[in-house]
């Protein structure tokens, strides 16, 4: 039980990782990320309904996520960043509202099952019950995060990404386009959201509200770990996931959401930059 909770925590970590990607380049995050997860999951489900094979559905869904991420960047974030305002918070919330309402009307308000080709029988690994589905979640999360980290470290484009994260102005002076790098980060963040949607749907079913609880916990993970903490999110995600299973077992499932929120407010009170975050020095 604790293990499956921890595996759910990996999905929180994955979404939180998506926040980190955009926060690194532009100090902004998408408050409608949950809707991105949900819309990508619905879209992938539709791809299956239209008769697309399972293995083609995954890249299709991911591409859809990338496209949505780019739309968010263009419509909601870029103008606010140009004006050096925090207008993107509101704009991405508005985008989420639009996405939610559209999903409700296009795909309906009911939860729908998401088919999977994996067997559902639990396996015994080191005396712990794990379903293959849960293992696939772990594999998927680590693959995506690993590939993106590899991309950031080994390719020229990825180096540009790191450069803009480290010092936007200096990177621009060296001929790196910050605007394009921010686009890239939103695209990647959309991809990560879509991956999270595809991974979690077989477990939770697909519905317009599927991501609203998920996203709150991803926020908690991102803030508790620190928005610039790198792999800190994985650790915090696992701990939070495990904590949640324990609370819902001992206090009842209604309290399931509570530990993440309490943890978040506590972390903010004690370490505002996150457990793994870095403090910034004020300058005048």
């Amino acid at each position: 039980m604790v293990v499956s909770g921890a595996l759910m925590g990996l999905v929180y970590a994955l979404i939180a990782y998506g926040f980190q990607l955009t926060f690194a380049t532009s100090k902004s995050i998408n408050f409608g990320q949950g809707e991105l997860v949900m819309l990508s999951a619905f879209f992938s489900l539709s791809l299956l309904d239209w008769g697309m094979p399972y293995w083609l559905m995954i890249p299709g869904g991911l591409l859809f996520g990338v496209a949505l991420g780019l739309v968010v960047e263009r419509t909601c974030v870029r103008l606010a960043l140009e004006q050096k305002s925090e207008g993107w918070i509101l704009m991405t919330i508005i985008f989420g509202l639009l996405g939610f309402s559209s999903a409700e009307n296009i795909w309906g308000r009911d939860d729908r099952p998401f088919p999977t080709s994996l067997p559902t029988d639990a396996l015994q690994v080191f005396g712990v019950n794990i379903t293959p589905l849960e293992i696939s979640v772990a594999i998927g999360v680590f693959t995506v995060m690993g590939l993106i980290e590899l991309f950031k470290r080994k390719t020229l484009l990825g180096k540009a990404f790191e450069a803009v994260s480290a010092d936007r102005d200096a990177a621009e002076l060296m001929g790196v386009s910050a605007t394009r790098t921010i686009m890239l980060s939103y695209g990647l963040s959309g991809l990560v959201a879509a991956m999270a949607g595809i991974l979690i749907s077989p477990i939770t079913t697909v519905g317009p509200t599927m991501a609203s609880a998920l996203i709150l916990k991803a926020f908690s993970v991102a803030v508790v770990a620190g928005l610039d903490s790198g792999f800190g999110v994985v650790l915090v995600g696992i701990v939070l996931g495990a904590l949640e299973s324990l609370t819902s077992f001992y206090l009842g499932s209604g309290w399931r959401e509570a530990p993440g929120l309490v943890l978040l407010i506590l972390a903010l009170a004690i370490r505002p930059n996150g457990v793994f975050g870095k403090a910034t020095i004020r300058k005048v």
Binding site: E82, F100, G254, P272, V284
Partner: protein, 643 residues
């Protein structure tokens, strides 16, 4: 003056008269319900605007405070049998306390983290309201019956009048608050939190108080909410409601009471608007036309970028097209709201009322109220005895950043009444030393004594309160405030009324006094004629002088001037020297960081020279100038001087 009274008060009175008389003329209970809701949401949004508008933070917790206030009132009536006034007060009190408790950790954060923290708080409170079934009856809901008010059983219209009266009181209290030192502090801390702290005003405490006050208005609205519907369910107070509230404030216009009121009317009327198909089509078409007109106008005048002009048109276009295609507009309620908001936020960032009020003030040209005569300078800045005793002592002060020893074992003494120069090449640690003294950084080790007592470490605010005030090398003015307000904000010892008295409007007299005092200081630096000019519109030289006047308003014993002549034109540099001399005559001790040696030679009694974080010379300007170590530090050519 008369025009001002007539237009501003007039508009308020007309609106009030209309709202007050409607129940007399219309007997439709549905309309009355909407009006009651309008008054309740008005209170709620005015409270929300404190954080969203004035503090400039995206606050997603107001729905939670509405819920907490509602449950508090409901439970006070059901379990304790309290009357209406007492249960409403309880709601305000509890939300005030919870708001303050949440604000303490959350307001150390900025921007997205703050939004996230408040969002989590909303989610957490919904969970608690849902799960604490023994108290709240959870998802079943809580029913109450409205108790009589002072023995009178309020009907629907009576209750509406109660809500209206409360909204007017809240409106007046907010006006009092905003025209006081508090309102100025809210504006200032958005422009420059560092300077707000450095002027001894305290960014953090104003933020916390503002947030808690806004939350308690949310609690009041919640109490009225439950009295109105007489039934409660936790699901009402969730994220969805929060988003709609936030959007109401933004759509109506931030930092505006009228904006909050307008936003509240929109929220109340929107569901009705959507149910009538024809009305919806007409309104969306008008919206499209407005967007096109505004876009064309903005592009022609080059005040808008292409995206800013096009995005609202596209979004309203989708709205019109959608309105014709979709079967049931009510299902798309959120999407419609989102599209409308998107257009407003992109095209009219200041909101509808913000735009309207700017346009109207241009049209009517309302003059600001006249200023009082300036106070005598002796009252504002009494002469300080310049006895030459040690005022400030640094003992073995160190400040390291990682491996960089920015200030390394510095000791010197500043004598009372002196101007003490602090010079050195770039990167020699002058600014760091001053930042440590003024409390921006805590020292790594060492002591700072003022009058032989230790200064507080690492807090701009507390150091300022101890009588050390400063200017900034990179200007930290409150750009949106007028020159007068910049100085008034920093004035020490004038504002004595506590917050409740301010809300009740008892602070007007001290406000006049503050204006007079601030004018005297502006006169000292030669800016009296520009008292009403916004700080960001002043010339560069005047901005530097304004910083000095503002620092003097803290009534400092020690004034630190961080490169006041940097970038000044030649005549302005002359003015600066005169200003510093005038301040010197008042007996105020100064530390002057400066690169212009002529300014330093003319003004300073003693000069300390830093290089590489260490003191390399100390003495009068003439002595220091000839010191070979100083020449080497500046020119790096020891051999030449030796030869």
């Amino acid at each position: 003056m008369l025009k001002r009274l007539l237009l501003i008060r007039g508009a308020e009175l007309i609106a009030l008269a209309i709202l007050g008389t409607i129940p007399l003329t219309v007997s439709n209970s549905y309309a009355l319900g909407l009006l009651t809701l309008l008054a309740i949401y008005g209170i709620l949004l005015i409270g929300l605007d404190v954080t969203v508008g004035y503090l400039g933070q995206v606050n997603l917790a107001q729905a939670a405070f509405l819920g907490i206030g509602a449950y508090t009132t409901g439970l006070c009536i059901n379990l304790l049998g309290w009357g209406m006034p007492l249960s409403l007060l309880a709601a305000m009190g509890i939300t005030l306390v919870i708001g303050a408790l949440l604000a303490f950790p959350a307001l150390r954060l900025e921007g997205p983290q703050f939004a996230l923290a408040t969002l989590s708080f909303t989610a957490l409170s919904t969970t608690v309201l849902n799960e604490w079934e023994s108290l709240t009856q959870g998802a079943q809901g809580l029913s109450i019956s409205r108790p009589p008010l002072f023995g009178i059983n309020l009907g629907a219209s009576g209750f509406y009048w109660l809500c209206l009266v409360l909204m007017i009181l809240v409106w007046l209290a907010m006006k009092n608050l905003l025209s006081s030192q508090w309102g100025r502090a809210f504006e200032a801390l958005r422009d420059s939190p560092i300077a707000t702290d450095a002027m001894g005003v305290g960014t953090y405490r104003h933020k916390v108080a503002g947030f808690a006050f806004g939350s308690s208005l949310g609690g009041l609205a919640g109490g009225l909410y439950v009295l109105n519907f007489q039934y409660l369910q936790p699901q009402v107070f969730t994220y969805d409601l929060m988003v709609i509230l936030l959007l109401g404030v933004v759509l109506g216009g931030r930092k505006s009471l009228w904006g909050a009121f307008f936003g509240a009317s929109l929220i109340v009327l929107l569901p009705n608007l959507l149910s009538n198909r024809l009305l919806f089509n007409v309104i969306s078409a008008i919206g499209l036309l407005v967007a096109v007109a505004a876009g064309v106008y903005g592009l022609k005048k080059k005040t808008m970028k292409l995206f800013q002009a096009m995005a609202p048109v596209v979004s309203m276009g989708i709205l019109v097209a959608g309105g014709l295609m979709v079967e049931n507009t009510e299902d798309w309620r959120k999407a419609i709201f989102a599209l409308m908001l998107f257009s407003v936020v992109v095209g009219l960032p200041e909101g509808i009322m913000g735009f309207a009020s700017r346009y109207l003030t241009q049209l009517f040209r309302i003059d600001p109220p006249a200023l009082p005569a300036a106070s005598a300078l002796d009252d504002v800045l009494p002469m300080q005895p310049a006895d030459g005793k040690a005022l400030l002592q640094l003992r073995n002060l160190k400040r390291h950043f990682g491996g960089v020893k920015a200030v390394d074992d510095v000791s010197f003494t500043v004598s009372s009444g002196h101007i003490h120069g602090l010079i050195g090449p770039n990167g020699s640690g002058k600014s760091t030393a001053v930042n440590v003294i003024s409390g921006l950084y805590a020292p790594t080790s060492g002591e700072i004594l003022l009058h032989d007592k230790a200064l507080p470490y690492g807090s701009l605010f507390r150091v300022a309160r101890h009588g050390v005030s400063r200017t900034f090398q990179n200007l930290q003015l409150f750009g949106e405030l007028s020159a007068l307000d910049n100085v008034m904000l920093a004035l020490k010892g004038v504002y004595r009324h506590p917050l409740p008295m301010v809300l009740l409007g008892f602070a007007r007299k001290e406000e006049k006094r503050a204006q007079a005092d601030a004018l005297a200081l502006l006169d000292l630096v030669g800016l009296r004629d520009q008292a009403r000019t916004k700080a960001k519109d002043l010339t560069y030289g005047s901005q530097r002088f304004l910083e000095i006047a503002r620092a003097l308003a803290c009534k400092p014993q020690l004034l630190i001037l961080d490169e006041p002549a940097a970038g000044l034109s030649h005549p302005d540099a002359g003015n600066l020297v005169n200003i510093i001399k005038r301040v010197h005559q008042r007996g105020i001790t100064m530390i002057l960081i400066e690169h212009h040696m002529d300014v330093v030679s003319e003004l300073c009694d003693t000069v300390t020279v830093l290089d590489g974080g260490k003191i390399i010379a100390e003495g009068t300007a003439e002595v220091v100038k000839r010191d070979p170590l100083v020449i080497k530090a500046y020119l790096g050519a020891a051999e030449v001087t030796a030869a």
